[in-house]
Symmetry: C2
Subunit: 203 residues, 2 copies
């Protein structure tokens, strides 16, 4: 267990490394850069990250994954009205617009090796958290009759997450946000329309 | 202009390099491997690819991009019934199931540098071709009244493409095809249902 002060130092190192990677990329990153930026000593860094650079990069990746979720709050955690969904949609677009073609999490995952167990566990956890929040939102809208109750909430959440992910992937290769916007707007419009069709579909 | 024989040799070199990358990856790839595999000489390779390895890799990437579209045919070019959409959906899932976590085009793009003008042009062309085929399919279904005419066909195609792309991205990080299937099935189910809702939405 870390003391409160220890936890704060560890956090400061992670945030410093994250900022360094966001500003200058990862290719030329050294522990010395991070040391200088966070006013810590080499022995402090190895105290908190015994595995050295790779250990630290994994912690930074976990931080960036948390940030993906945080940047969608408070909307993602409270998708109870269509207005909340729209606010969430806007927060997602804004986040990725600001981020542009440089995805710090993607850079970190590539550096750590996407197929390593640690990177895969981190990706799986992010997907699961994100999808659970969308699933809760969809299930809530189904409970109030605003989304077709015959849809599988978890699968619909998976589809929505894939649409966002694809929009982001295309943004990172083209620099254009059009696909992310189209993916979100079309998914939400079709979801919203789904209940209106119910009587006709069943009847 | 290449003669027919020249074009065939060039094609053989590209196919050989593509197969080599699919089998053994790109990290350790040398022109000698490709030469040996395709029974060509070094001077032949430089005759067809004056820029050497990078030139060749770009041609292989273009070939892999064409293959992305080809593997969805004949369905992608003839999305005129819901059965055709379902067949297309199955072809996409099958393709990526077979490919698994190793995407030759992704590997090539990373090697060439995603932000280089040549790689970006290639990505843009693939997105455009793919989206145009989906757009034609949606517009056709709108013409026969099977998809809501108020949807913007191009934006809906962009959304569908993003959903597929996201499913593939998630497959490549997790090894699981669930998101791709959910993305396709949910998008198609909602599209299919869109028209039934029309009278209620307007009325």
């Amino acid at each position: 267990m870390l003391t409160a002060k220890g936890a704060a130092t560890r956090r400061r190192i992670i945030e410093g490394a994250a900022a360094e990677i966001r500003e200058n990329g990862i290719a030329a990153l050294t522990l010395d850069d991070i040391r200088a930026r966070t006013s810590t000593s080499k022995s402090q860094i190895f105290h908190y990250f015994p595995g050295g650079k790779e250990d630290l990069l994994l912690a930074v990746a976990a931080r960036e994954a948390d940030r993906v979720i945080e940047d969608q709050q408070p909307h993602l955690g409270d998708l109870t009205t269509w207005q909340a969904w729209q606010d969430w949609r806007n927060a997602v677009v804004r986040r990725y617009e600001q981020q542009g073609v440089h995805c710090p999490l993607g850079v970190l995952m590539t550096e750590l090796g996407r197929s390593t167990p640690a990177a895969q566990a981190l990706t799986a956890r992010l997907i699961e958290q994100w999808q659970a929040a969308l699933r809760a939102g969809i299930a809530g809208m189904q409970a109030t009759g605003e989304v077709d109750r015959r849809l599988d909430a978890d699968r619909t959440a998976a589809a929505l997450l894939a649409a966002v992910q694809g929009g982001v992937t295309i943004l990172m290769s083209t620099g254009r946000i059009t696909h992310l916007e189209a993916a979100l707007d079309t998914s939400l419009a079709l979801l919203r329309q789904s209940v209106d069709g119910e009587p006709n579909v069943i009847g």
